[in-house]
Amino acid sequence: MYYTFIDDRVNQKKMAQLIFNHLNITALSAAVPSNTINNLQYTMHFPADEVREIVEKTGIYQRRFAPPDMTASDLCFAAANKLIEDNDIDKTEIDLLLFVSQTPDYRMPATSVCLQDRLGLGKHTIAFDINMGCSGFIYGLVVAFALMQQGYLRKALLLDGETRSKVYSPKDRKTAFLFGDAGVAALIERKEDFGSSFFSLNSDGSKENLIKIDAGGYRMPSSVDTVKEKVVDEYGNIRSDENGYMNGSEVFNFVISEVPSDIDTILKLANVQKSDIDYFIFHQANDFMNNYLMKKLKLQKEKVPSCIRYFGNTSSVSIPLTIVTQLKNQLDGKKILLSGFGVGMTWASCILDINQLKISDLVEI
């Protein structure tokens, strides 16, 4: 069924809303480093009782850290190979390869192009990177769906990987316990019997300083000074300009201000109620924030899966990682709502009617 108009009521807030038809995710796989960090024992720089308090509030007990020679693309490479193998995918039919990450292999060339070669895909494959964080998987889906909509492309591989463990300073209490590494691979296909999917995407660059890495780009090029650690606040937190930082309270303010209304928007666009949604899959930032969102939106706990306890905040990977680790064999015929929010700041949500989704077992490398 084609939607040929969008209700004015929905348009009032002037958000970017898209509707696609006949497109779906048909297979999903994930890979994580086998190297596991136990947060309660991550006490090299902070007293154990303080660490315990943070762990209990955030709900993050374990994370996976990629060793020095392992990158996000390696995690996605492992996930992609598992996906290809489990689903007997003909690689020559992959016409599109997207790599979502803010921890790419290089500033250039795009990591997706390197992966095109590593995966043995054809030269006809369109390959490019998407530089987005926590909302990135949904942005990646939108780009894949948009390019696939007309039917000229046969299959798309959406890869999404992050090694945030390499971004944040272990001596900065505000971020030391939160982030973990992972990579996913999603197969996107077009079939006439797939239904409609709905997307809402948003950005607010006035909040660019809420989650950021100052140095290493061209605003503040890397230098001998940018790599030096320094005390950054009155609490004695230490990081360099090459490390990421986050204003946790302002991020929380942003999430509670924007996410509930974005979810309202997407439900209206899809013309469904909350009760029609089988699963709400939120970006896994921390337990406190997600529990609050669940409470504010009046959602039943059984409909809100979580994997943050085991993997921490893996940025854009957290939504598909939650699906792979928590919803295997549970999604066929289900209506799911994805909501990602974070660095930029950007936020996005989508509603998908899953047809058949083959989820691979988690890979550990």
């Binding site: 308090e53 943070i54 509030k57 505000k174 204003n247 946790g248 309270s249 302002e250 929380f252 303010n253 509670i256 201000s257 406190f288 924030m289 609050y292 409470k295 504010k296």
Partner: protein, 82 residues
């Protein structure tokens, strides 16, 4: 006889105490909340959630920095209520 305003302030103190997990009986509107032993960045998150849930208000971080007593916080919330 207590005025409605005092009852609102009492409720506010109770909500604040619950949010930061302390006893409401030793708090007054003059309490400098940043000097409480329970106050830290995690308590701040709980207070943000409490203010949103109870009053449907969000206070921008730069504005929040200027507030020091529970009275000032209460007044800031009243100003922003829809």
């Amino acid at each position: 006889m207590e005025t409605n305003f005092t009852i609102m302030e009492k409720n506010f103190i109770q909500h604040f105490a619950e949010a930061i997990e302390t006893d409401a009986t030793h708090l007054t509107m003059e309490t400098k909340f940043r000097e409480l032993p329970e106050w830290d960045s995690l308590a701040y998150l709980s207070v943000i959630a409490m203010i949103d849930e109870q009053f449907d208000v969000v206070i921008d971080g730069n504005d929040f920095k200027k507030l020091n007593t529970l009275q000032e916080l209460f007044d800031a919330i009243q100003l922003r209520k829809r």
